[in-house]
């Protein structure tokens, strides 16, 4: 029981991070029906931006640094959108293009930062550590959970209860129709990309203090994030959270109870089976073709 709680805690903490990246992926997908594979490196870039703002270049308070990181993430994502997605239609080309952008960002991160690696990223204001069933849970994980909850509520409120959210949803549903109805689709798309970049920044800023800030910080998490998005269903924002937590907990339990060496192989095998049964993900709607 004890160990089970431990696996659950790990799974939820990892899953929350995957979920944040998955939601970033979903925002981009809803905006442009494509993927931004540079999102991981965008996050790493933002974590370095925070480090620069709070530790090396200036000594701003943490909250200002966090804002700097969010803006950096949003700006990089917007630049990616402006360079690649706005100009290229084909999903494959966008994918390759964003992989190229990802390489460029990694290169820039390496040039700027690799010399003094690793760094100690300033931590998100600590919540107290708690104990659950004899298992200690780090305040840092609690911060992650809290951030995820706040972000979900915020996104929910913005999308479901504001006029702007209505526009965004309309644009995501049917661009042409939304444009006809007077929605500024361009702006909606940009906002969603920026939000995706900011989410990636949040994920990176939360993960970095757990270990050590380095150029490869987000690389191992990117595909888990995308896998989570697809597991949950790319056309629904809550799908990202469900997919993320599901993936996190499943991988933790597989690692704990089946095989710690074959964890990701088993995980992906399960994922493939699940997706072949539900090609649109757990929460995804069956796509009704309009012809």
């Amino acid at each position: 029981m004890h160990a089970f709680v431990g696996y659950l805690v790990s799974g939820l903490a990892n899953g929350s991070v995957y979920g944040l990246l998955a939601m970033a992926a979903i925002l981009v997908f809803k905006a442009s029906r494509t993927a931004n594979f540079a999102i991981g490196e965008t996050g790493t870039f933002s974590a370095f931006a925070l480090y620069a703002a709070v530790v090396t270049v200036t000594r701003l308070p943490y909250w200002v640094g966090l804002l700097v990181a969010l803006v950096a993430g949003a700006a990089v994502a917007l630049a990616t959108e402006a360079i690649i997605t706005r100009n290229v239609r084909s999903a494959l080309l966008v994918l390759i293009g964003t992989l190229g952008i990802s390489d460029v960002i990694t290169g820039i991160n390496t040039v700027l930062w690799s010399k003094g690696e690793p760094y100690q990223e300033p931590s998100f204001p600590q919540l107290p550590d708690v104990s659950l069933g004899g298992v200690g849970i780090s305040g840092q994980y609690l911060s992650i959970f809290a951030a995820v909850v706040v972000i979900c509520l915020l996104l929910y409120f913005l999308l479901e209860h504001t006029g702007f959210g209505l526009n965004v949803r309309a644009a995501a549903e049917d661009r042409d129709l939304a444009a006809l109805a007077g929605v500024n689709v361009r702006r909606c798309v940009m906002v969603m990309w920026a939000a995706g970049g900011a989410l990636a920044a949040v994920a990176a800023v939360l993960v970095a203090p757990l270990s050590a800030l380095n150029v490869g910080l987000m690389t191992p998490l990117l595909f888990n994030g995308y896998a989570a998005g697809i597991l949950g269903g790319l056309d629904r924002l809550p799908g990202g959270l469900v997919g993320g937590l599901g993936l996190g907990v499943a991988s933790s339990l597989i690692g704990g109870y089946i095989s710690s060496t074959a964890e990701d192989a088993i995980l992906f095998a399960v994922l493939i089976v699940l997706l072949s049964v539900r090609p649109n993900g757990l929460l995804g709607r069956r796509v009704v073709q309009k012809v």
């Binding site: 160990a3 696996y7 903490a13 010399k115 100690q120 200690g136 849970i137 757990l210 191992p220 710690s260």
Partner: protein
Amino acid sequence: MAVARRRLFIAALAAVCLGATACTTTSGPGGSAGDTVGITQNSIKIGTSMGLTGPTAAEATAALHGAQAYFDYINDHGGVNGRTIDLTALDDGFSAAQTVTNVRRLVQQDNVFSLFYLWGLNNTVAALPFVKQSGVPLIGPQAPTSAVTDPVIPNVFLMEPTFNDEAAVCAKQLADSSSVHKLGILYENDPIGQDALKGAQDAEGHLSKPMAAKVAFTSGTPSFTGQIVSLRQQGVDGLIIFGTNPDIVNIAKGISLEGWHPALCGSSNVFDPTFLTISGKDLNGLNGSLGQYLPESTEPGIVTYRNRLKQYFPNEKATVFGVQAYGEAEVLVHALRSLGKNPTRAGLLNALNSLTDYSSDTLFPVSFTKADHDGVSQYRLVKVVNSQPQFTSGFLSNDNLFGNG
């Protein structure tokens, strides 16, 4: 018709390009197996391949500068019996496939006399079949794994304790502690972790305490609570951890969070002082072993290393990898010197095979025999105290630790 012409044109263009590149870069007979390849009137050509770009750029560059600082110093002081050491360093971006290509190029195209250092465990292991077949000496790969030393490859020489050995030492150290009753190992699911696991398993027979749990982990995972709680639940109170540094900090934090105080022992990479300064107090008390002096040490040899590094690469800092590569450069130069005016590959291999307790500036004494190409079999136990590494023993070898049984 236009299409036809264009395709022909492209093909012809490609032909010209490829042909031209091939011609300009071909120098002399390719890949001859001669014994004095790479030796000219006034230089000895050696080559290496490292991840100078990509995820390991900073560490690899620091290592390269360490070695180059020594070679530069030697070259400025008359070289090796009148010949300068000419080191060609190719970048492989830490990709093993690229390392193989680079090593082939160094041997077959650039005609190096010897290969020196190679960066990365996977990378080195991938290049081994070719290195073995070519017979070109490979001195001091940065690949401390038993795959390099066991069985002995006649032309490959390692100069640091393997992860395999380190894990065995860890197991023994923990098992000998009176506070430990059950051992466990938490290792990264990669070649380093696998080698460590093998070492710990091989040592099991010599231990007085049981190895209760062996758990693998994936690098970069945000939370390790599950593995930690499970290890604790299985009664482990002496834990061996092998993995990359960021993961080890995360694991150590998780362990102290659980209010758990097992005896810890980790891989040598943890004792990198730069890293320990940012790791906080959670790594205090962690044990391990080292086969080299620390870059910040006040040992005279290390001071010499730092001075030369400052002289030739003023912007480079002293690192564990720099220390290692510098010392290996010294060993290579020492062996080459002993060959007199007419160095040959066979001569180099012989000289190394008879090297006994050679003390370089930065490494622990290096010895090779025909039957043992793991040159540094001595190590010192080390412990993290106040976020700094501290030696806790004199020179030891497996014979000391495990007895001769």
